[in-house]
């Protein structure tokens, strides 16, 4: 049985280490916050200018001045801090954030990422995605293994406009996990979802990988 959205978030959360500063993208990546292991100190960064994102506020305690990058109302923690957008992206671009979890439309076998634009459709913009993949130390991508039409999304080359080249360190799909030790190495198949076979993954993955 393929992994669910919640399973993907939980799997990405296992990549977190004690003391990490982490940026979570919109969608499934946001759910990663619900699976941080007890006892692990992880500080979540929001690119609109906050370190130490707290949980959603209790009803009646929403503050219009306190939102995450997805524009959702959030709460602050005793260790939280606020800063300007330029400072926020200084942290991101400057390599001070340990890990980012992002969604994707396509990932290439070289670790290229496409997640912001489909030609011919209304383009909403890249937001902070290009800055994140260029600056964050480790980039973990979560996505469906194939599109709604059944097309593979882990491919030899991205066909969609790129967000960054050679930036993905780990790819978690609903069928499998691919990882690589450095950005000079190919991806390895390291985990398979329960009930899924290696042959099925091979048939749905035109990208080159080891294992």
């Amino acid at each position: 049985m393929p992994w669910s959205r919640e399973d993907l978030a939980a799997r990405a959360a296992r990549e977190l280490k004690d003391g990490y500063y982490v940026n979570l993208g919109i969608g499934i990546p946001t759910l990663v916050a619900n699976y941080i292991a007890p006892g692990l100190k992880v500080v979540l960064q929001s690119e609109n200018g906050m370190l130490g994102i707290g949980p959603f506020p209790y009803e009646g305690e929403e503050d219009p001045d306190l939102i995450n990058a997805g524009k959702q109302t959030i709460s602050e923690l005793s260790m939280s801090s606020y800063f300007s957008s330029a400072d926020s992206f200084g942290m991101i671009r400057g390599g001070h954030i340990d890990m980012a979890v992002l969604g994707a439309m396509e990932v290439s076998e070289k670790g290229d990422l496409a997640n912001w634009m489909v030609p011919g459709k209304m383009v909403k913009g890249m937001g902070g995605a290009m800055d994140l993949v260029a600056g964050v130390k480790r980039v973990v991508v979560v996505m469906e293994h194939t599109s709604k039409e059944g097309e593979p999304k882990f491919k030899p080359y991205c066909e969609l406009p790129l967000t960054g080249t050679n930036v993905v360190d780990m790819l978690i799909t609903d069928l499998a996990v691919f990882s690589r030790g450095s950005r000079h190495e190919p991806f390895k198949l390291v985990e398979i979802a329960p009930g899924v076979t290696a042959a099925e993954i091979r048939s749905k993955t035109p990208a080159h990988y080891v294992g």
Binding site: R93, M126, G128, L162
Partner: protein, 241 residues
């Protein structure tokens, strides 16, 4: 802009604060992220001036009927420089009809371009966007095997910002994530106008807690009262008992 010889920075309202500094075809930096920390009173007053052909630097383009969405609906904006413009149907319509120019910048690149412009820096080399559409037509430089692209600083005719508290000298303090682009935008306008929720006399704000020093602010208004909007209300249930 002889109005700048006026000794006080304080204006009675948004309309008077924009008097004499608005002209067709001007460029504008605007603070805010989504609907958070947006200089809404100044945007409404700018709308009322009837100014046209604006080039606006802002992370987002407001939503329909809110923030910069007001200026879009009235077709007063010629070009947007932004990182993300979802949540606005009128924007989408004008863009697809070819009525609106749009330049996408990666969010951090935009913030840094504004910061650099305000700090007198012509440009900077960044890895962000290298190998993507963002790099097209830009000078590149390879340093230690990494490709960097040249991005230029942004200076505009006018900046509009929103702060929580300000004093009559133009010193500003922002609140929580309503800070966002506002301190950066405040530095990049040849003239910066701030609206605040609470305007106080000098000495009331702690000098050690000022986020934007008054030198960056030429005009200031008390914009209260505010009815702040929430774009996506998310809450958690209270535990029973």
């Amino acid at each position: 802009m002889s109005a700048e010889t006026r000794s006080s920075k304080v204006y009675p309202d948004a309309a008077s604060a924009l008097h004499g500094i608005v002209s067709d075809g001007m460029s504008l930096c605007c603070g805010g992220f989504g609907l958070c920390g947006v200089p809404e009173k100044l945007i409404a007053a700018l709308h009322e001036t009837g100014v046209r052909n604006l080039t606006v630097v802002s992370n987002n383009a407001g939503t329909d009927g809110e923030g910069l969405g007001i200026l879009l609906a009235s077709r007063q904006i010629k070009k947007m420089i932004s990182s993300y413009v979802g949540e606005n149907k009128e924007f989408e319509r004008q863009y697809l009809a070819g009525e609106l120019e749009l330049e996408f910048n990666p969010q951090g690149t935009m913030a840094e371009r504004v910061r650099a412009g305000g700090a007198g820096i012509y440009g900077f080399f960044t890895k962000v966007g290298a190998g993507t559409m963002v790099a097209e037509g830009k000078e590149t430089r390879i340093v230690n095997g990494e490709t960097y692209i040249l991005e230029t600083g942004i200076v505009t005719d006018l900046s509009l910002v929103k702060a929580w508290k300000g004093d009559t000298e133009g010193n500003l303090i922002y609140r929580k994530t309503a800070r966002n682009f506002n301190p950066n935008m405040a530095t990049a306008g040849r003239i910066t106008v701030a609206e605040v929720e609470e305007l106080v006399e000098p000495g009331v704000l702690d000098p050690d807690s000022i986020h934007t020093p008054g030198i960056f602010v030429q005009r200031i208004i008390n914009g209260s009262p505010y009815r702040k909007k929430i774009e996506k209300r998310t809450v958690r249930p209270r535990k029973e008992g």
